[in-house]
């Protein structure tokens, strides 16, 4: 078995004595070397699913089966940078001393557009710059699996597009498996090879897209049709 397999996965939270079910029996195959996008409305359990798959929380029922040994990196909704470390220190945070190659770190800093801010501390950066540092930290780790929880939500349009292109480039060059959570249908269509719609704690629909690493033109008829289908699935009024 390659990738990650979720079998009848359940998770609930207890708030003031009341049990609130979040995931109620998710069955999902997250394939290797592909970008799987989890799409759904706010509060549908996307982040919980990601946290369970990433091993940050334990499920209340069901099981998770991992394939080959994985080197996982996580990009959270918020940057989660170490305030006492500068940009370079934060990017190298997950690396062992012998894994740090200055040239490569400079290249990653350039990629995320933080040239000149190598010695800046998180408190000196804007929200978008902090998030880019968090993305750079994940890329520098050379993960075989990247878990991303709405990582580009805090970025402006141009930076978001640049980061989406960069993510596709990383996927093409490293063939990393990516589990990407978003509530943006366009982002899901741009990046995903597999789009999974979650609703009421279960997988409602899965869409398979061609495994192309290039930036897609969302104005193509097939993507417009697919977007319409996704919108209908999400029960969003058009």
């Amino acid at each position: 078995m390659a990738g990650i397999e979720l079998v009848k996965l359940e998770k609930h939270y207890v708030v003031e004595g009341k049990t609130i079910p979040v995931l109620t029996g998710i069955n999902l195959q997250i394939p290797e070397e592909r970008i799987t996008v989890i799409l759904g409305k706010s509060g549908c359990g996307k982040t919980t699913l990601l946290r369970l798959a990433g091993g940050l929380e334990d499920p209340d029922g069901g099981s998770i089966h991992y394939g080959l040994s994985q080197r996982t990196a996580f990009v959270f909704q918020e940057p989660r940078l170490m305030p006492w470390l500068d940009v370079t220190g934060n990017i190298c945070f997950g690396l062992k001393r012998q894994e740090i190659h200055r040239d490569e770190i400079h290249s990653i800093i350039h990629t995320v557009g933080l040239d000149g801010f190598e010695k800046a501390y998180p408190s000196q950066l804007s929200g978008g710059m902090q998030q880019r540092t968090a993305i750079a930290r994940a890329l520098a780790y050379h993960p075989s699996f990247i878990m991303m929880d709405e990582p580009f939500a805090a970025l402006d349009y141009f930076t978001r597009e640049q980061m989406q292109r960069e993510l596709l480039r990383v996927w093409k060059s490293q063939k990393a498996s990516i589990l990407f959570v978003t509530h943006s249908i366009d982002e899901a269509l741009l990046l995903g090879h597999k789009i999974v719609i979650i609703e009421k704690g279960v997988v409602k629909t899965e869409f398979e897209l061609p495994k192309a690493g290039d930036f897609r033109n969302l104005l193509d008829d097939k993507f417009i049709m697919l977007k319409r289908e996704i919108i209908e699935n999400l029960n969003v009024a058009v």
Binding site: L56, T72, F76, R80, P83, W84, D86, F93, G94, Y141
Partner: protein
């Protein structure tokens, strides 16, 4: 001006003159060095104890049950009230003074260290978990730096408490040091020397506090201003 008796309040000139004489004779340096030696010895022991107990409390939360009540009990007992017992048990040697300083400076450091360690942002700890950090590595790379502001503030308060305690201890159970010098000068009706002693203690306290302020500023360069610089 003759408003106050020189016995009650000696003139600045007389105080300055006494200070110069004490400087030239080296008497004041001897007392400063003795008091400083005691303070730093007691302070260092208290810091190591506070750090270790705070670390155990943070890494094994259940361990707090075993000693937290004892810590809270002794936190409310003024160290100077223990002097009679300590003299009985340890005599008027160095041990008594060291124990008094340890008791005085331990609690502010312990409370700040525990606050720093246990208050570490869980979201940052999750970052360590994602990168596969062991509990020890997580402590060294995340919890410890995160708590450094609280640790340094605790050390700063603890050092101030150490100076207060040593002067009290030396006034009762010593034959040397700044506390003893002040008490001896009072018994000899040398109010000028008493004032010199008070000023010297204040200056040393201010000096060490500034050094800590500088260290905090250097070590917490990435964090926001904490109002202690």
């Amino acid at each position: 001006m003759g408003i106050f008796s020189t016995y009650v309040l000696p003139s600045p000139g007389k105080v300055w003159g006494s200070f110069q004489k004490m400087l030239l004779s080296g008497e004041v340096f001897r007392d400063i060095m003795i008091s400083m030696g005691r303070v730093f010895k007691g302070f260092a022991i208290a810091f190591v104890l506070a750090f270790l107990l705070g670390m155990i409390r943070a890494m094994i939360p259940a361990s707090g049950v075993f000693y937290e009540y004892l810590v809270q009990f002794f936190r409310n007992v003024p160290p100077l009230s223990l002097i009679p017992l300590l003299i009985l048990w340890c005599g008027i040697g160095e041990t008594t003074k060291t124990v008094i300083i340890v008791l005085a400076s331990f609690f502010p450091m312990y409370l700040n260290i525990v606050k720093g360690f246990t208050g570490c942002d869980r979201k940052l700890l999750e970052v360590g978990k994602v990168f596969g950090y062991s509990r020890l590595k997580q402590f060294v790379k995340i919890t410890l730096p995160y708590a450094s502001a609280d640790i340094l503030v605790g050390m700063r308060i603890g050092l101030g408490y150490s100076w207060r305690a040593i002067i009290g201890a030396e006034m009762v159970a010593a034959s040397s040091g700044l506390g003893h010098m002040i008490l001896f000068a009072q018994q000899m009706s040398r109010t000028d020397k008493v004032i010199v002693g008070i000023l010297v203690i204040g200056l040393i306290g201010y000096g060490t506090d500034r050094i800590f302020g500088w260290a905090i500023k250097k070590l917490l360069k990435g964090s926001c201003e904490n109002g202690w610089n």
